[in-house]
């Protein structure tokens, strides 16, 4: 089992100590949280800062295909795009990773071979997470064996909402163990299903206590995914967790971030909440595929002074 960092080791001793700890975290005032997220959204990012932000955002994208109809051909195309997002401009940075279902990991791995692009896989019965633990673990092991660098797991929201925090903790810890030393673990909360900001803060701490390398908002498969407010809240959680334990955890908003303007607002949140230490793709990611093309179009606009159009970037 992974060991929780010393100052907090005893909070996971039992269901009741864990519950007491999670319910003792500072509350979240929804109005204040959303107002802060909105006010950071009015920061004006221009010229050199904008160019820097766009390249940074591109390098943070987890380029994702999670469709029942995924084919090896589509995954190879995605891999090629991840390595060279803009075929007309080789100075465009590579994305952080490609994210696929476990059975496509080997194909994806081949497609990005020789580059720094990671392969992430959504294991653990994505997106519902409703499968027995041994099946989830088998899912993870298969993905890791196929070469996945990162595992995106979904938590059991049912258990979380029922207050069975230790069960959720044990599952995350078991998945972390199955990841071994080679794969980083991203824990997806599906914030849209947790329904309150207090729950999102508790889930963040629960995930981090159990050994998450990243905490991630959502699967992108439900109505409400990443928002500036829930991402701001998770950034506060990783910042506070590092202050208490010395352990740094990454953050990944996913779903619903479609434009460069939105992405830059998220970078401002990172900058002003967690701080500059989180401003690279080891610590911050965007789970948003359609975002990449908009970033590339904005990048072309900055380079040429003209807007191109959807036909000047690749479809996948």
């Amino acid at each position: 089992m992974p060991t929780t960092a010393p100052p907090l080791a005893d909070v996971t001793a039992s269901d009741s100590t864990l519950r007491r700890f999670l319910h003792g975290l500072p509350g979240v005032d929804a109005v204040g949280l959303e107002a802060r997220a909105a006010s950071l959204g009015t920061r004006s990012i221009k010229t050199t800062a904008k160019a820097y932000a766009i390249d940074l955002a591109i390098s943070m994208v987890d380029l994702t295909t999670l469709e029942g109809a995924d084919t090896p051909g589509k995954v190879r195309a995605l891999g090629a795009k991840a390595v060279h997002p803009d075929p007309t401009d080789r100075t465009a940075p590579a994305t952080a990773a490609v994210c696929v279902y476990p059975d496509m990991v080997a194909t994806a791995k081949e497609a990005v071979a020789g580059s720094a692009v990671k392969v992430a896989s959504v294991a653990t019965a994505f997106p519902a997470g409703r499968a027995p633990l041994d099946i989830k673990l088998a899912d993870v092991r298969a993905a890791v064996a196929a070469g996945a660098d990162e595992i995106d797991m979904v938590i059991d929201r049912g258990a979380f909402l029922a207050g069975k925090y230790l069960k959720v903790y044990d599952e995350i810890a078991a998945v972390k163990e199955a990841c071994g030393s080679s794969a980083r673990l991203k824990v997806i909360f599906e914030t849209g299903e947790l329904s309150t900001y207090d729950n999102i803060r508790r889930a963040s701490w629960l995930g981090m206590l159990a050994g998450a390398d990243f905490i991630k908002t959502s699967t992108g498969k439900v109505a409400v995914n990443a928002t500036p407010a829930n991402t701001l809240l998770m950034l506060e959680a990783v910042r506070d967790f590092r202050a208490q334990t010395g352990v740094q955890v990454g953050v990944k908003p996913a779903g619903g971030i479609r434009t460069s303007k939105d992405a830059i607002k998220f970078l401002v949140l990172v900058n002003e909440t967690a701080g500059g230490d989180w401003l690279d793709n080891h610590w911050f990611r965007f789970g948003a595929s359609s975002l990449l093309n908009d970033l590339l179009m904005q990048r072309q606009k900055l380079a040429t002074g003209r807007y191109s159009g959807p036909d000047y970037v690749t479809v996948d």
């Binding site: 500072p26 979240v28 005032d29 009015t42 990012i45 221009k46 701080g275 500059g276």
Partner: protein
């Protein structure tokens, strides 16, 4: 000019708002009886931009003769204006509100230039509220019989209004909108450091076709304000500003039949309990004391923290202060602008130095101040007690005093232990505690889990030396009606 966040490699490039949207004339006159005119004695004064010390314009300086002329014009206009049906007065007010909205970018830039506050605040707070006040009171103009002051309440006559420099246009709106809605006419004196937006407002009155003499604007110094307050033909005096001047006005008005409302100083307590939403409380503290560089009468300048979370909260607060961006107020990313005047800067500096001399511990984030203009870094004092001058005197600047308490009773006792009583804040996740504590606080406004939120429908005013009377809301009508 921007002081970059030292924590981050992500430096925002400057994003200044264009000055070209506002056309400032080299000189302005007084606005009397619908016309811009020179002062009777020909006096003028200069208004400067506090962030650069650049002279923006030369403005006519009103004297006693000008006050008399303006009051006469207002008296003459009162006859027709007060006889108009409320729905007709409402049309003018709605028109003014819409013109303010149309010209809001121009006015926001102007206000930032003349006052020194960040464009983020003039654009996002001041101007939307100015328009909202005119819209709100326009809505009341034809419904005065239903406001709870009798079936047909009457206006008072000529209102003499004196406003401060911290929210020049917003304070103008707070004063003029209810006065006109209720059928009064107005002579208003803006502060000598920030006369420009009031003069632009005079132009808006002309644009709206407001009858001559209904609104008169007299830029000038304290002597003009004193003459206005003392003028025998003024029926109503409304003042927002310092407690010292407020007391002088009260003495002048005493024994006359003038109605008086005073909005004076404050030393607001912001009470943070140990179960507060900490991250939002930190934002609220920042907004409470660093909004408009702390030059806010209802600023939360005394932070009362429950002892058990003092260290944790202070760590969070200091980290947050390190991300505040001080500099060019026209830059859209600026959080902290310039102090309004050299005089005010000197006052803040003196009081902060006194805090240090009396033994409180002073802290400011690493922050480079621009070379020209009037600047003061965001500052907080820990280890402050009720006996320190900085816990008692209104500093009216970006200086926060931090005190601690152990029990709710102690928090209430300390919060109320001040000659002022304008505002207070309570931060806790426990709803019953909010109600229990709020009902014991002697303050005109008590915010819970937020701070410095304003709305035209919400009355605002003080207890004790913070003044009397209410502005805003239905209550705000009362001050301008014969009830």
């Amino acid at each position: 000019m921007n002081t970059e966040n030292p924590l981050s490699p992500f430096a925002y490039a400057p994003a200044p708002e264009s000055r070209s949207v506002v056309d400032i004339a080299p000189s302005y006159g007084l606005f009397v009886d619908g016309e811009f005119t020179e002062a009777a004695d020909g006096k003028v004064f200069k208004t400067v931009s506090p962030s650069t010390e650049e002279v923006l314009s030369e403005v006519a300086q009103a004297g006693e003769a000008d006050v008399d002329r303006a009051v006469k014009a207002a008296r003459k206009a009162f006859v027709k204006w007060s006889a108009l049906p409320g729905s007709e007065r409402a049309k003018y007010l709605f028109r003014i509100a819409r013109i303010v909205q149309e010209r809001s970018r121009e006015l926001a830039v102007l206000e930032t230039l003349d006052n020194g506050k960040p464009i983020r605040e003039t654009r996002d707070a001041d101007l939307p509220l100015v328009a909202a006040h005119f819209f709100y009171y326009a809505g009341w103009a034809d419904k005065l019989g239903h406001a709870g002051f009798g079936p047909s309440p009457k206006p008072l006559g000529v209102a003499g209004q004196v406003i401060p420099w911290n929210f020049p246009l917003l304070m103008l709106a707070w004063k003029i909108a209810p006065a006109l809605a209720t059928g009064n006419t107005v002579v208003l004196k803006p502060a000598e450091t920030t006369p420009l937006s009031a003069l632009f407002f005079a132009d808006i009155c002309r644009q709206a076709g407001l009858p001559k003499g209904v609104v008169n604007i007299l830029p000038g110094y304290g002597d003009a304000g004193a003459a206005l307050v003392a003028h025998p033909d003024v029926n109503k005096v409304a003042f927002t500003g310092s407690t010292a001047v407020g007391k002088a006005i009260a003495r002048t008005v005493a024994g006359t039949d003038k109605k008086l409302t005073l909005e004076l100083g404050g030393k607001g307590a912001n009470i943070v309990f140990d179960d507060a939403p900490i991250d939002q409380a930190v934002e609220g503290i920042v907004n409470g004391i660093f909004f408009n560089q702390g030059q806010v009468c209802c600023a939360g300048s005394r932070l009362l923290v429950q002892e058990s979370i003092h260290d944790e909260l202070l760590d969070s607060l200091k980290r947050r202060l390190s991300t505040l961006r001080l500099g060019d107020p026209l830059d859209k990313n600026t959080d902290i602008g310039a102090i309004n005047s050299a005089e005010q800067l000197a006052r803040i500096t003196t009081l902060a130095d006194q805090g240090e001399a009396e033994g409180a511990e002073r802290w400011s984030p690493a922050c480079e101040l621009p070379e020209s203009g009037y600047w003061f870094a965001p500052t907080l004092f820990t280890g402050v007690t009720q006996a320190h001058t900085i816990a008692r005197d209104e500093i009216f600047g970006p200086v926060l005093s931090v005190l601690t308490f152990r029990t709710p009773d102690e928090a209430v006792a300390k919060a109320n232990n001040t000659p002022y009583g304008l505002s207070a804040g309570i931060w806790t996740e426990k709803g019953s505690r909010i109600l229990a504590v709020a009902s014991r606080l002697r303050a005109g406004v008590v915010w819970s889990n937020t701070f410095n939120k304003f709305d035209p429908t919400s009355p605002f005013g003080g207890y004790k030396e913070s003044g009397f009377g209410r502005e805003g809301g239905r209550h705000g009508l009362e001050a301008y009606l014969d009830v």
